[in-house]
């Protein structure tokens, strides 16, 4: 059944078999996607994985080579960006340099023909919402990166689009600001009840903000689900490794421990270091090896162990424990249940 005739399609954004080719390169290679209304949706992946192209396809800056896209039930192929109920916060913010902050925020209202007094009032309210005060008359060139982002956000939200797209929204900010902004974006999205779709290569950002995450690799979505699912139950080596980093255990080893001949993922923080002479907790698996590298990371120590049969095991343990020396013999242990057997390689 063709998707556009499906009864009461309740998706905010729908992709069906969407492809986008640039010459011989398949930037987007058969993507199916359903983003629910009011959802905070993350598209996560390395650069060149097709996530930004998908965002541009929703915005209308680009058209699919094949497939079908709907926004709130309306087919949007061939509909130009300026007729879509979607606004974007650009990675470089794309503020108009010749307009002051207020005129930037009021741009879409001005385009819609709203009177000056009314749109300035609306714009001022919008700036208050993003906590930017007393900057109305400044030019974008006079603002800091964080302030510019708030202007871009206010400008995109002023007409309450059905879907807000954010392209690496926090990429250009420093760490402290980025963490503050994560919380603020989440609060904003909840209070407005709008659908937010954002693109990021930062797994921390995706996991902390999104209701659901789609992991992209080589133009395809390799896994989609709530952050806990993605992190706890990665479906493939790629997801396990890209999201959070993981030990990928070979099928033969996994077979010995679990009886299943599939690769398994083991998160570094699930592995502990056994004190010398201590007994192994019941139900645990112990791996003996030499310490190859031990680094102090502040909150945690990051230790790489090479087992006696030459396999590498990465672990992060609370920094309270003393840092082992390189070459020292050590015993690592983990709960059998921490092993996550993956469906496909």
């Amino acid at each position: 059944m063709p998707p556009h005739s499906s009864p009461a399609n309740s998706s905010a954004v729908t992709f069906r078999g969407v492809e986008r080719h640039f010459g011989a390169v398949r930037a987007v290679d058969g993507v199916d996607l359903d983003i629910a209304p009011g959802e905070f949706f993350a598209m996560l992946g390395p650069s060149g994985s097709g996530k930004t192209t998908c965002l541009r396809l929703i915005a209308g800056f680009d058209q699919p080579t094949a497939g079908h896209i709907e926004i709130f039930g309306d087919t949007v192929e061939g509909v130009p960006a300026y007729r879509r109920p979607v606004n974007t916060v650009f990675q470089d913010y794309a503020l108009f340099p010749h307009m002051n902050v207020l005129d930037n925020v009021c741009y879409s209202l001005m385009i819609r023909g709203m009177g000056k007094a009314e749109r300035h009032k609306r714009g001022a309210e919008e700036l208050k919402m993003v906590k930017l005060f007393g900057m109305e008359k400044r030019k974008p060139g006079e603002l800091s990166g964080g302030q510019r982002q708030r202007v871009a956000l206010a400008r995109a939200l002023v007409v309450r689009p059905k879907v807000l797209l954010l392209d690496e929204p926090l990429g250009a900010l420093d760490l402290k600001l980025r963490e503050d902004m994560q919380g603020e974006l989440k609060t904003l999205q909840r209070s407005l009840g709008l659908t937010f779709v954002f693109v990021t290569h930062d797994q921390g950002e995706a996991l902390s903000m999104a209701d659901r995450v789609a992991v992209f690799n080589e133009g395809r979505i390799v896994q989609v689900g709530p952050p806990q699912d993605i992190y706890e139950r990665p479906r493939s080596k790629f997801v396990a490794d890209f999201v959070g980093g993981s030990n990928i255990l070979d099928p033969d080893l996994v077979h010995v421990w679990t009886g299943v001949s599939s690769p398994a993922s083991l998160r570094p923080e699930k592995v502990g270091l056994l004190a010398p002479g201590a007994d192994c907790p019941t139900g645990s698996i112990v791996v003996e090896g030499h310490v190859d590298q031990a680094l102090y990371h502040g909150a945690v120590n990051r230790i790489e162990l090479v087992s006696l049969d030459g396999r590498r095991l990465l672990m992060t343990i609370p920094a309270a424990a003393p840092l082992p020396r390189q070459g020292e013999l050590a015993r690592a242990f983990f709960d059998r249940r921490s092993l996550h057997v993956m469906e496909d390689a």
Binding site: A81, Y82, F90, P97, H98, Y107, R112, R155
Partner: protein
Amino acid sequence: MTEAFVVAAPQETVPRRVSDALMARRGLFLLLLLAPPLLWLGVVYLGALFALLAQSFFSIDEYSGTIVYEPTLKTFSELLQPANFDIIVRTLVVSAVVTLLATAVAFPIAYYAWRYARGRVKALFYVAVMMPLWSSYLVKVYAWKLLLAKEGAVGWFMHAAGLSVVLDSWLAAPIVGGPSLSVSYTGMVLVFLYLWTPFMVLPVQAALERVPVSLIEASGDLGASPGQTFRNVVFPLALPGIVAGSIFTFSLTLGDYIVPQIVGPSSLILGQVVYTQQGTAGNLPLAAAFSVAPILIMGVFLTLAKRIGAFDAL
């Protein structure tokens, strides 16, 4: 056991000491760097300009034809005589028309080069725009005179295309017309347009190159149709380039005295008047007074451009 590598301290040579001293006193360094160009600009350029302006406050004795070295505004008042004032107005109109047409012709070219031309095509664009500047100015003007003459290529083409009526009725029109294109204002404006268009294309294109494509996308994203995006984003951001180009096309037309001599009607243009007044007529004060006119006009032009916010995007 351990062998230490010792890097020898740099020797205290004279050039070294000089450079140390210069680095320590940044002001002195800057002064030394800037002195020659400032002297050139101050003495040779501004000096000559002021000498010229000073001339305009003298007058000429009408009987002996000698210059009276007494400050007076008499020469300036001569500018306001109908015959002289007409020349200024005529020149102003021609310059303005050339500038407007140059903008109209140059903008699409610059826009195309910015939005669509890449790599080899872009290189070709630069060559194509600059190529007219590679050949002699006089050769180009005389070539145009031939093209525009009554029996010239333009007339022949119009005839062959069955458009003789159009050409004839254009030539029959007042002011823009004349016996043939080569002796009409239309011809003069066309030649100016040809000569100065590169000076408009390049600054406009440079201004557009600095506009990130994301601004165009953002405008569309916020609901602006391509036309609205052009009016609200592209054009304002290109305006500094258009103004820069206009300074070229406007002032080059304002001061030119060769083109109007070769192509166009017999009525004089400002540059020609300056040329004849300081040459054959020997009336240096009047020539100087005429030269002040373009300076004032450019001053007014730039003030207006600033007033409408042409430089806001700089």
